[in-house]
């Protein structure tokens, strides 16, 4: 809670938030090139207001975001790690501004898709969730990658990142239940296959619950992987059925990745002593190609639902 005081408002337009608005919360550092498409994508989806924490960007991200009409921006130079990887900052903002709203928490390289996201705006989803008294909605992180070495095709500002990184792993995920928080713990995908084959237990968690009808008493326990109270993590059916679920398409593996990996290595600001980034760094030095002949090319959400990565549940 105290962590909220670390934030300095740059520009606040929170007074424009109406009671029914759907809010997006994000924290970022040096993501200038990604921002135009990010904002466009989520505006078209129907997000009404963006609440963003800038963790000391020096690439113009702050200057780009500040004049946007639907953005409220805070900044901090403090430690990302000590703020539990940004979760404390966002929990604070969500407690203050998210109460009673549907809130979507995503990173600038995460693109939310849900059943019918090509034909129905996000409000159709939240209305449907409201009608069913469902308070949280899961979306597994799906790592997307290009064919050929990462960074062979440069990413241009405003471009759809999935024109470049349009491949994914469809069926190599492992799931186990976390008895403490009641959530599923999902690992696997190209990162486990390429970077963590020797230490699978270290592979990053892919389970996320980014969309929540927020209440003051809620909190993300670790990034958006786990929530409190525990009941919010029960986004899966235990009796054989399927609940509705989406995906977060993860546009991490673009040409910006190598720069990022280097920077994060130096800053030591990531999870488990930047173990993840150290693994990337080591592998990246030999120009890896995440693509293999069993990679699937991304088409749309229906494809992911047929592959069993997401589900319509009983939404039709």
């Amino acid at each position: 809670m105290r962590k909220r005081r670390e934030l300095t408002p740059v520009v606040s337009r929170v007074s424009a938030i109406r009671p029914s608005d759907i809010l997006l919360f994000s924290t970022l550092r040096n993501e200038r090139v990604r921002l135009p498409y990010f904002l466009k994508y989520y505006r078209e989806m129907g997000i009404n207001h963006f609440l963003i924490v800038d963790n000391g960007s020096d690439d113009g991200s702050r200057e780009y975001l500040a004049p946007q009409d639907d953005v409220s921006l805070w900044t901090t130079e403090r430690s990302y790690k000590r703020a539990r990887f940004g979760a404390d900052w966002l929990n604070g903002l969500q407690m203050r501004y998210g109460h009673g709203h549907w809130t979507l928490v995503v990173d600038p390289d995460e693109f939310f898709i849900y059943p019918f996201s090509d034909t129905r705006p996000i409000r159709a989803l939240t209305d449907w969730l409201d009608a069913g008294s469902i308070k949280s909605f899961p979306a597994m992180l799906l790592d997307m990658y290009p064919k050929g070495p990462i960074g062979a095709q440069p990413y241009h500002e405003g471009q759809d990142p999935f024109e470049i990184a349009n491949w994914f792993d469809s069926g190599n995920y492992t799931i186990s239940r976390n008895s403490k928080f009641g959530n599923l713990w999902i690992q696997g995908g190209p990162r486990a296959r390429m970077f963590f084959a020797d230490m699978p237990e270290r592979a990053p968690a892919l389970n996320k619950v980014p969309l929540v009808k927020w209440q003051r008493s809620y909190a993300y326990a670790s990034s958006t992987h786990m929530l409190l109270p525990r009941g919010l993590n029960l986004v899966y059916d235990e009796w054989g059925g399927e609940k509705a679920a989406g995906c977060l398409l993860h546009a991490k593996f673009l040409d910006t990745f190598a720069v990022k990996a280097n920077e994060e290595m130096l800053r030591h600001q990531h999870y488990a002593n930047s173990h993840e980034y150290r693994a990337y760094k080591a592998a990246l030095d030999d120009q890896p190609d995440l693509w293999c002949k069993w990679s699937d090319k991304y088409i749309n959400w229906r494809q992911l639902e047929i592959l069993g990565l997401m589900s319509k549940g009983n939404w039709a």
């Binding site: 019918f116 034909t119 129905r120 705006p121 409000r123 159709a124 209305d127 449907w128 009608a131 069913g132 899961p138 979306a139 597994m140 792993d169 469809s170 069926g171 190599n172 995920y173 492992t174 799931i175 186990s176 239940r177 599923l184 999902i186 690992q187 696997g188 190209p190 486990a192 296959r193 084959a197 020797d198 230490m199 699978p200 237990e201 389970n207 986004v235 899966y236 059916d237 235990e238 009796w239 054989g240 059925g241 399927e242 609940k243 509705a244 679920a245 293999c292 002949k293 069993w294 990679s295 069993g308 990565l309 997401m310 589900s311 319509k312 549940g313 009983n314 939404w315 039709a316």
Partner: protein, 565 residues
């Protein structure tokens, strides 16, 4: 003669206004009931928006709570206004604020004109109802429900349990036979007025005030008292999910709704602009007078309910992670596990692949790596052959492989050298066809070039592992199709068991297996077993293998494999 619409509204009043205007400007009077919980400003706005239309009335407002009599009272009030104010109305159609007409009003009028004495109301006796949620059918009529289901669920459930326990029963008025059905009906003036004007009405109302969800039973029961011609179906297309909530229609349902030929649909998402624009457009040239045909939509929604309640067998994912024994099938498709065959036959996987026309894996759970067919390092779904990754979560690996290769039968080898973690999983899985030649691992040792003391130690280890595995396969919880032969039994007559397995994998194969796989050389194997015995290890799983070396079975033929007739 015309049809009048009674609309019950509580949200999205602007949409309700649009629909009311559509009907009223096409010669159909509308009486609107607005929930008293709607605030005065919104109510006034609706009033104003429709003030230019002469054929619209507003009825006395009731505060409506789902599942209570207030909805019936609101309907009665509005219907009374309709019958009193619009003498030309012959059919009264009950609709909600989130209903949308799918066909031109003229078609509905023509349809009803052709059936002037028919009451369209779903009305089914409690014995025949299959759709009620929560298990309350007849008890809706015989228990009391003083507590709100929405706000005091515990009290509600507790009070129901209490009444059941003490066998409490309310008396159903003797004239009535309880019926249930969709709350959206279309009744004739004759029937409706008889209902509203019956001197007994006060008694019936008093009774129904304590009935659970009377809007699904009041009119449905009473219509049987007065109607001469009940057609037990609703003209409104309305589908419910497994929790009894109505399915909602969106823009992408446009074509489906068009082809349904239903007159009215509910419930429409209030922001489905395209649906409202299309269906409220000035009437297109009238089509043929088709009967409503909601079959396609029925299928869509019943599939959704099935997905939500049963899910896809063999799928483990972020929103489907069944508890043990609730999987509805542990894996997605049948597969075959061969234990000992690769040791007994030379090139068994090539032969099997050719015979059943599928790709055959080696030992998927081998300690070194997952031996995918064709020596692949990555397989369908980008599954890695890394033993570390596989063993990190063995119970994800096998179902993933079977899920990823749906449509192509998987065959793989298994044995005591392998990671035994999936033993129980395979045993419990109905999709598994497990064929075991017990003790066949000794053949590999027999051919290996190791010191005998090492062989002896390894033999003891493998025998122990396999014995445990076999006891799992023989346990009463095993659901897999399991066949076990001892090595001695099997080599006596290898073709018959093989043919049985192949037939099961590929039942429609026309040809019998003609080419047999070549048996591994077994000359001296009996002696090898005897040597193990002499060194104090007791090989039991192979069965009775003759010690006298290669006299009886002598299956190790050289030259061409034999043919089966």
């Amino acid at each position: 003669m015309t049809v009048g619409f009674v609309m019950l509204c509580h949200t999205a009043l602007d949409r309700a206004a649009q629909v009311a205007r559509h009907w009223a400007t096409r010669g159909c009077p509308v009486v609107i009931h607005v929930d008293r919980k709607v605030n005065r400003a919104n109510y006034a706005r609706l009033h104003r928006a429709l003030s230019d239309l002469p054929d619209i009335r507003f009825s006395e407002r009731h505060a409506c709570e789902w599942g209570t009599f207030s909805l019936v009272a609101a309907t009665q009030a509005a219907a009374t206004v309709m019958l009193r104010e619009f003498p030309a109305v012959r059919h009264v159609y009950l609709a909600s604020g989130s209903c949308l007409p799918l066909r031109p009003v003229a078609e509905l009028v023509a349809y009803l004109d052709a059936r002037p004495h028919t009451d369209f109301i779903e009305s089914v006796t409690t014995e025949d109802v299959g759709w009620t949620i929560g298990g309350l059918n007849l008890e809706r009529f015989t228990l009391r429900f003083p507590f709100s289901w929405r706000q005091h669920r515990r009290l509600f459930d507790g009070y129901v349990a209490l009444q059941r326990r003490f066998h409490f029963r309310r008396r159903i008025p003797p004239a009535l036979v309880p019926h249930l059905g969709s709350q959206w009906w279309c009744l004739t003036r004759q029937t409706l007025s008889a209902m509203l004007e019956d001197p007994e009405r006060a008694n019936y109302d008093r009774y129904f005030k304590r009935v659970w969800i009377p809007d699904e039973s009041y009119f449905q029961t009473l219509v049987r008292q007065y109607s001469v011609n009940v057609e037990s179906r609703s003209l409104t297309l309305s589908k419910f999910d497994f929790q009894g909530k109505p399915h909602i229609f969106y823009d992408d349902h446009l074509q489906l709704l068009r082809r349904s030929d239903c007159f009215v649909a509910r419930k429409i998402w209030s922001q489905a602009d395209k649906l409202y624009r299309t269906f409220l457009a000035p009437d297109a040239a009238s089509q043929i007078l088709a009967e409503p045909n909601p079959g396609k939509i029925d299928r869509l929604f019943s599939k959704a309910v099935e997905r939500r309640t049963k899910g896809r067998a063999g799928l483990y994912m972020q929103s489907r992670f069944p508890n043990e024994n609730w999987e509805n099938g542990l894996t997605a498709a049948p597969y075959s596990v061969f234990e000992g065959f690769a040791e007994v036959f030379q090139d068994f996987d090539t032969w099997l692949g050719k015979t059943v026309g599928t790709r055959v894996h080696g030992h998927l759970f081998a300690p070194e790596r997952a031996e995918f067919a064709g020596g692949e390092t990555i397989y369908n779904g980008a599954l890695s052959d890394s033993a570390r990754l596989r063993d990190y979560n063995t119970l994800s690996f096998l179902p993933s492989l079977i899920w990823n290769t749906r449509g192509e039968r998987q065959c793989f080898q298994f044995g005591p050298r392998d990671n035994q973690a999936p033993s129980w999983f395979m045993a419990r899985d109905r999709n598994a066809q497990v064929s075991v030649i017990s003790g066949a691992w000794a053949v590999a040792l027999f051919h290996s070039n190791q010191n005998f003391s090492e062989i002896r130690r390894e033999a003891a280890r493998l025998q122990k592992i396999e014995a445990e595995h076999l006891s799992i396969l023989r346990s009463p919880w095993t659901k897999a199709r399991v066949r076990i032969w001892t090595l001695a039994e099997f080599v006596q007559n290898p073709m018959e068991p093989l043919q049985t397995i192949i037939d099961e994998i590929n039942p429609r194969a026309l040809r019998r297996v003609t080419e047999a796989p070549r048996l591994a050389a077994l000359a001296g194997f009996g002696l090898f077993l005897q040597n193990l015995r002499n060194q104090g290890m007791q090989p039991v799983l192979m069965g009775d293998f003759p010690v006298g070396d290669d006299t009886t079975s002598a299956p190790a033929r050289s030259g061409r494999p034999y043919l089966v007739k």
